[in-house]
Symmetry: C2
């Protein structure tokens, strides 16, 4: 019989699994993230941005194909369809849905429209450690804003957000480039006219994507990607853009200009861009952004210009921006590495035109919520521990559950998050549970306590604290804080508060 049962179960059971590249979020991460988002939202609202929420599902044609991964068979997106219906997809960013929203509400929406949005986005990429197929972004955009002052403001919002989160100046840097500068560079390469040879259509895009890989593959890797192609360590081959050696070196020289103070950057690139009208225009735009930033007091220590900023998404038309965290994180080897990008964006003047036929210029940026949270944790900037329920009311006698519930209610009414143990197991197991839950106080009452109108409070932090190093004060501290006290029932909430007080208040308290 027992054997039969054993044989039967495995075939009937469903295996609990997460989809590849998906994850469950831990409570402390959710609470830290909520706090972080609250700070970011406050900054966005200071600049007049309003919230919007669009659905996770959109028609594929409304989203468009702008992902760097759109070369893969699935185009990098979670697209599907039901019989006879049109293709739909989970959004891969929050900008494409914003464009659809603006186009749909064009006649009633006052422009400029400033909106912020937080939410999950979905990409069918190869999952890596720390890189998920469902991840979270918090965007802000100004739609109907032709002025470069808007791009300058995007930089200011990003810088303000980083500082509001506690990142010191010097630990972050807003890096700006211009797609027009990149287009100027490509113009200067003298590529064959795509009208004459359709096979060269994609070359400019491939050049940009090769440049965008600098962080991952280094300058030599980019050289290969610009030329004949690159084989990675796993043996996988990525075809190159097919540039000649001279052309490749020209791009590399541009990348090597790298990051510079804004005025110096414009001077240095002026001569290089001289023969390209679009390149000169790009540089002129950066000069104007520089003037706005300088007037607003955002110096080179907060916003800098950088030739290596490209941005992967295909819809950018002008200035592009990236938020880099510049503090060092110890790597596996001897070299240290920078934390890297936690967001970015840029100007997309033609994205909404796809729907409306009318140009509605727009600019904005996206903060990568998961990466930024990871950064704040690394720097210890997530604030005090949250989400722990500090008090567990234990159950000595199941028949008195209503009395235990009454105790729990008293504490909750006093604003103290309190759990009543409802697992139906013995006292020892309840104490183990209290420990696993990181509860700080166990409330204990049996027949005697109830008869005497009393209740016992066990300090659970004591055991944990004493095991750390308190040096000479350890015994003294232990004496002053006895592990268990008995109090009159009417003093319950007051005493619990007093016991919780030496440690930071729980988040749940008003």
């Amino acid at each position: 019989m027992a054997d039969k049962k054993k044989q039967k179960q495995p075939t009937n059971r469903t295996t609990p699994r997460l989809l590849k590249g998906f994850r469950d979020l831990a409570p402390e991460d959710i609470l830290y993230r909520n706090r972080m988002l609250e700070t970011i939202r406050t900054v966005y609202e200071r600049y007049g941005f309003q919230p919007l929420e669009t659905p996770a599902l959109e028609y594929v044609d409304a989203l468009g194909k702008f992902l760097p991964e759109s070369e893969t068979p699935e185009g990098g997106i979670f697209a599907f369809r039901f019989e006879d219906e049109e293709w739909v997809a989970l959004r891969y960013d929050l900008t494409a849905p914003l464009s659809r929203y603006v186009a749909l509400n064009r006649n009633t929406l006052p422009l400029p429209y400033r909106r912020y949005q937080y939410g999950p986005v979905y990409r069918l990429e190869k999952p890596d450690p720390g890189r998920y197929r469902e991840f979270f972004q918090c965007d802000f955009d100004i739609v109907g804003a032709p002025l470069l002052a808007a791009d300058a403001e995007v930089c200011m919002v990003l810088a303000d957000a980083m500082e509001a989160l506690g990142l010191a100046r010097g630990n972050y840097l807003i890096r700006v480039n211009n797609r027009k500068l990149l287009n100027g560079l490509i113009e200067l390469l003298g590529l064959p006219d795509p009208a004459a040879d359709r096979s060269t259509d994609e070359v400019p895009l491939r050049i940009l994507r090769a440049m965008d890989k600098l962080d991952k593959v280094g300058l030599d890797g980019v050289r290969h990607l610009l030329g004949k192609g690159r084989q990675d360590e796993s043996g996988a081959f990525t075809p190159g853009a097919g540039l000649s050696d001279t052309q490749v070196e020209r791009v590399i020289r541009f990348l090597e200009t790298g990051q510079a103070d804004r005025a110096g950057f414009c001077d240095r690139l002026g001569a290089m861009m001289e023969p390209s009208a679009i390149g000169c225009q790009g540089l002129e735009e950066l000069r104007e952004i520089h003037a706005h930033l300088t007037a607003a007091g955002y110096a080179d220590d907060r916003v800098t210009f950088d030739t290596t900023v490209v941005r992967g998404l295909g819809y950018y038309t002008g200035p592009v921006v990236e938020v880099g965290l510049t503090f060092e994180t110890p790597g596996d080897g001897p070299e240290v590495s920078r934390f890297g990008s936690v967001g970015g964006g840029g100007r997309y003047d033609t994205l909404i035109e796809r729907f409306t036929g009318e140009q509605i210029p727009a600019t904005g940026a996206s903060i990568g919520v998961d990466r930024l949270l990871q950064a704040l944790k690394t720097l210890g900037l997530t604030g005090a521990e949250t989400g722990v329920c500090p008090v567990l009311v234990t159950v000595m006698d199941k028949n008195r559950l209503p009395d235990y519930q009454a105790i729990a209610r008293e504490l909750r009414a006093a604003g103290i998050p309190t759990e009543l143990y409802l697992g139906g197991r013995n006292f020892k197991q309840q104490m183990k549970y209290a420990d696993a839950r990181n509860a700080r106080i166990a409330v204990i009452a049996g027949g005697n306590e109830f008869d005497n109108g009393e209740v016992a409070l066990k300090d659970l932090t004591l055991g944990r604290a004493v095991s750390e190093d308190y040096g000479e004060d350890r015994e003294k501290w232990r004496e002053e804080r006895p592990a268990q006290v008995t109090v009159r029932r009417e003093d319950l909430a007051g005493k619990v508060r007093e016991m919780l007080d030496p440690l930071p208040n729980s988040q749940g308290l008003p």
Copy 2:
């Protein structure tokens, strides 16, 4: 040329559309909802619940088929798959993913596990006004809680949440039933043994679903659904459960018992359930819940028992609960209607067993965020208006944009949400925009003001307020609040604050 352009555009353009049954959320709804969720979360945390977030996508087999719509071809869910891959689906509730989570983390998760979760869920139902295919739930559950004290606590949490949101006692009611009572009723009908006739397998489920339709189709409609079937006004036919007239009337009598004070309910159903062991057990459980609720001070005006509570989802095994809003809303016709259900839940002792083979009893409930928000709006309980950016800095001279940005920065630094107009249009259009945005103050500065170190502030609420009825005080009020004042630049933030003060503070202020 112009003609050619006109002809070309429509074929190239994408039509901006939302998926059927999906919607964009308006800013004020998002801000009201965030405030509402904050209140609900505080109540959940008071009871020791911790947040969890699971992905929107899960494997179909992990979600299971528990929807009332699972009779439709698509099973009521958004399921899809990529070539060669397994079927995945957007979650249709937050309970099935919780079960998957608990099963996956069974070895490290201390039980009882109390979690809350907010998020969108997806159902492929026929969209109705106010009924969407993407909607939002905020759940709380206690997993590993065999005691009925846990079900009583679920009722308390729901009642506390409603009152924390400002709903007066009497405007909401928690209604409780027990699936075991319903199973007792079905037992008493003397249905043929499904082991003998497989075609009768589904009859009990059909009976429950017919009963669950009471709100929508009335007692007579339920009669038809229990018997031979029902044709609705559109002519669509729903097959019935095939009960005899006697059986149908037995179910109707049970439903007619309806809602009653808890003690009276148990007395009244005692005789009816006497011959059914499972029915008696169900009643016994309700008596125990009644005792817990009474001891905790939750009387019949907050939590009542009701035979008509069924709950549509297939995984419930014991007590089921529904949160009804009982205030009257004027209907189209002469009759008034109650607002109806804004959430519910129940005990599901076997859902996790599907994965683990081991029974992990659980109970909890879900608040329907969209319906509840609608209710709070109807009752005027959403609090003060939020999300309006009160100040617009207008741009008289584009060449002075950095100076206008400096003005905006001063106000933001003082904690006043301020938008700089970046639309690049003329002053008249800027004032129209300020009005459309509901801005309260326009900041105006031209050459003269800059030369004199001054700035003009135009009170935009004045025009709006004066057009309302101020009776005799109207002229006096107008005199006291001139539409436009000029202030010294250094007094800017102070004066703006003073002008904003008579109206409630914007949400964005610290």
